[in-house]
């Protein structure tokens, strides 16, 4: 009976908010002019969790979508654990991507009238644990993640039919909030969710984001992964959505680093070989991947790229076992776990299947579970609310996911953001730029990276790099073909983030398939600071930029790096018959990691094994070369 009282109250409340006259339809239809070509880079996070994600709430997140949007927009908010939080610079766009499975469920379990749960011993136990203490809440969350990995969650949480009503109410309210904060031309708020497929704890997660607003989306609900773990099912949902609404939607794989080789496997989910239909669908649905985020960096691994002295960034702590740490990951699995290797596999598949399933651009995002999109080392709010900025022990705390494997707080990266070259700050322009892969990833700093490829460039074109780049070539994410056997030429520039560190170097990373059908990689240093004193060795390697980090102050000297690097580069090892890709990696000079700032703030002594100095970086989307048919 009390249950029905509560339901009545909820329904009344919903009905009331449904009647609300506060909407911004008029403002949302304001005309925004698109520039002729992308003049500005827009910064955002495509992967943020709020209190509607089951694990985020369980870890203590009490900030809702509205707080998340206000924070991204540059407002000050109070974090769940009480610290004041504000970005040093606002973001331009945000995708709130809460887990679709059991969306809002932990919040509902904790807040539900106890009697409503009496018949479900599973949920009742969790309800009591969550209400008892923060520790209980953490234990519930660990059990939830574990249960999701093992497939043992109760049906009332995972069955879409069971949770449909709750999800529909929540989703409608969420859409309203997102629309209220979407201000075309100023700040873009996207609809989205995370599809959290995790067979046996192997991470196959995708963020799904919509080009459309809630109105166009109609009664579309987020798509759950539990029981439907095959990503092809998600792609079918996406196709059905586009069919039904004439809208557009894309998916962004992430944390391939803890997928145990499955994210970019050479076969389908069921183990059968990749075929042409799979390739076509995957390439269409997944135009970009998230290469860097809090749970590590997925570019490459020293095992895969032994000649790359920068391959170990963001690898420590994440390469031993899969997401839930239920399985060890042998190095032989890494090929399917890292992005560079996937790009190479894509070239091989182009030859064997006729098309490339891994033809994607790169972005970074946070995957923060605190509702706070932070990626600055000196303003890092942690992975979840249990390790926000005011938790002084957080760098050394063992992490619940795989403690026995030695994952600690300091393994989390304060990373990353998505940079998008779009013609305006609107849902349409940003989404379309992602579809054409004119995007890049950074580990947090906002350096501006331009990358154009073509056959007609001349060295002096760097004077008018952007206009010439568009006029005579293709931007990052584009395709090159033809060229009459001549090697492709590239115009590349990187401007430092004026609020971060100066630049060490620009590298071009090339992948190709050799005459035997095997893929290869090579790294070219193409532009660097202090080029009068730093020279390339015969092996193509460049002496490291001096480390000027003062750990006792958290400072460094920008004079050792370059404010800007600009160059023209032509591939010296080109073979017109071989498929290839080229992407750019920009390295900052060495700077302190977030635990260093924590140590200064709380007067801690960090053990030797904690990584204290790093070179933050940007990864551009590739440009692909295909021999003329």
């Amino acid at each position: 009976m009390r249950k029905s009282l509560m339901w009545a109250a909820c329904t009344a409340a919903l009905a009331l908010s449904g009647c609300s006259k506060i909407d911004n339809d008029n403002d949302n239809s304001a005309e925004v002019t698109n520039t002729e070509y992308p003049e500005q880079v827009y910064w955002g996070d495509t992967h943020l969790h709020t209190d509607n994600s089951i694990d985020a709430f369980g870890f203590g997140n009490r900030l809702d979508a509205e707080n998340a949007l206000r924070f991204a927009r540059g407002e000050e908010v109070t974090a769940s654990k009480g610290a004041k939080a504000k970005l040093s610079r606002p973001l331009d766009f945000l995708v709130i991507a809460d887990h679709s499975d059991a969306m809002g469920a932990t919040k509902a379990i904790m807040e539900a009238p106890r009697i409503a749960l009496l018949t479900n011993k599973f949920l009742l136990r969790w309800h009591d644990m969550m209400n008892e203490s923060d520790e209980g809440s953490l234990r519930v969350t660990a059990e939830l993640i574990d249960g999701a990995a093992k497939g043992t969650l109760p049906a009332s949480l995972t069955d879409p039919e069971e949770s449909k009503e709750r999800t529909a109410d929540l989703w409608e309210k969420h859409g309203k909030t997102v629309d209220q904060y979407n201000e075309p031309g100023k700040f873009t708020a996207f609809m989205g969710f995370e599809y959290t497929s995790m067979p046996d704890g192997d991470n196959l997660h995708r963020v799904v984001m919509f080009r459309d607003g809630p109105k166009e989306m109609g009664d579309t609900l987020p798509y759950g992964a539990l029981g439907l773990q095959d990503p092809e099912k998600l792609w079918a949902y996406m196709a059905a959505y586009e069919e039904k609404t004439s809208g557009k939607v894309l998916a962004i794989p992430h944390n391939s680093n803890v997928s145990n080789g499955r994210m970019f496997a050479m076969n389908k989910f069921d183990g059968s070989p990749i075929d042409a239909a799979y390739v076509k669908t995957r390439a269409l649905r997944e135009p970009i991947v998230e290469i860097t985020q809090i749970k590590g960096d997925s570019e490459t691994h020293p095992f895969l790229s032994p000649n790359d002295e920068f391959a170990d960034f963001g690898v420590a702590g994440w390469d031993k076992c899969n997401l839930s740490c239920t399985k060890d990951m042998p190095p032989e699995s890494y090929g399917g776990s890292y992005v560079r290797e996937a790009l190479k596999r894509g070239l091989e598949l182009t030859l064997s299947v006729g098309a490339n399933p891994f033809k994607f651009g790169m972005i970074g995002s946070t995957d923060s579970h605190t509702s706070l999109s932070t990626a600055d080392e000196n303003n890092f709010f942690g992975k979840h609310s249990g390790n926000e900025a005011n938790n002084e022990g957080r760098a050394m705390h063992p992490q619940n996911l795989g403690t026995r494997e030695g994952r600690f707080g300091w393994h989390y990266l304060s990373s990353g953001y998505a940079a998008v070259w779009a013609t305006s700050n609107t849902r349409e322009a940003i989404f379309d730029a992602m579809m054409r892969r004119e995007v890049y990833a950074t580990t947090g700093p906002r350096m501006q990276v331009r990358f154009f490829g073509g056959f007609d460039f001349a060295p002096e074109d760097i004077q008018n790099l952007v206009t010439t780049g568009y006029a005579k070539g293709v931007p990052m994410g584009g395709d090159l073909s033809g060229g009459d056997g001549e090697a492709p030429k590239f115009l590349i520039s990187a401007l430092m983030d004026p609020e971060s560190a100066s630049l060490d170097r620009i590298q071009v990373i090339k992948g190709w398939v050799d005459a035997t059908g095997k893929s290869q990689e090579k790294i070219y240093n193409v532009s660097w600071s202090k080029s009068d004193t730093r020279k390339l060795g015969t092996d193509g390697k460049l002496s490291p930029v001096p480390n000027t980090v003062d750990l006792t102050k958290g400072t460094w000297d920008n004079a050792t790096g370059a404010p800007e690097l600009v160059t023209y580069w032509q591939d010296p090892d080109f073979d017109a018959a071989q498929n290839a890709f080229y992407y750019v990696r920009v390295l900052e000079i060495p700077t302190p990691t977030w635990p260093v700032y924590d140590a200064l703030k709380f007067s801690l002594t960090l053990p030797d094994n904690v990584i204290k100095i790093q070179q933050e970086r940007a990864y551009s989307s590739p440009i692909w070369y295909t021999p003329a048919a």
């Binding site: 009976m1 807040e111 018949t119 004026p498």
Partner: protein, 271 residues
Amino acid sequence: MLRKFIREPLVHFLGGALLIFAFFWATGSSRDPAGYTISIDETDIARLRSDWVRNFRRAPTQTELDSLIDQEIAEEVYYREALRLGLDKNDPMIRRRLFTKMRFVDGQKVDNVAPTDAMLQQWMDKDPDKYALSPLYDFEQIYLGQISAAEAGERIDQLNAGAGSGTFAQSISLPETLKQASTEDIGRQFGDRFAGQLKGLETGIWSGPVTSGFGAHAVRITAKEPGKAASLDDVRQRVVNEWRAAQQAEQKEKALGRYRAQYEITVAGRP
């Protein structure tokens, strides 16, 4: 007569009973936790049945249903006995649970008033600085490189003495001139530190060095339009969002305040 009637304890008792009755009637519950009657009616049984179906995806057998009912009775009996013994007192879970419920109920009263333009204008007027439109600058900028302030200062003196800008300009892909640029636009390209330094600069001459993360710049402001108060239409969406968020926060605060006012609260060590 009436006054006497009001003071009559029996009337109080009956009135109280009536209230309790009204509550249980209104909430649809036939159970009075203080009483000794437990009746499981058809709606209760229907609920037990449908909860079972939700969990097990089939109807309960008669035996299962009977045991559900017995369980329900046992729980109700223990629940009431526990209340009689006062076991609900000082239980952190119950306390927390009731706190959450009250917060929820209070939260529902908030919201949902459409603000008029006058209300929004009033809201804006409380903090005009927050919504003020940035000054707009027309300026030229020469990037002098990563050099010391003293060196940069000398070069700026030479610029003002008539040296050509090309003499010192270091190449960087930053605009050499900007027109009608807001502090935000400037901050996007040059960093906030640079943007913040323009305020104090004289118009018409080369000034600086203005420092940014890139290094030192010479800046000549050619025109400056002072910042001004925004009109409601300039910032309507932001104002509506902030007005609504503030209303919600305020209502929450007020609700607590109303309750708190009825209490005398003392805290050791707090005046």
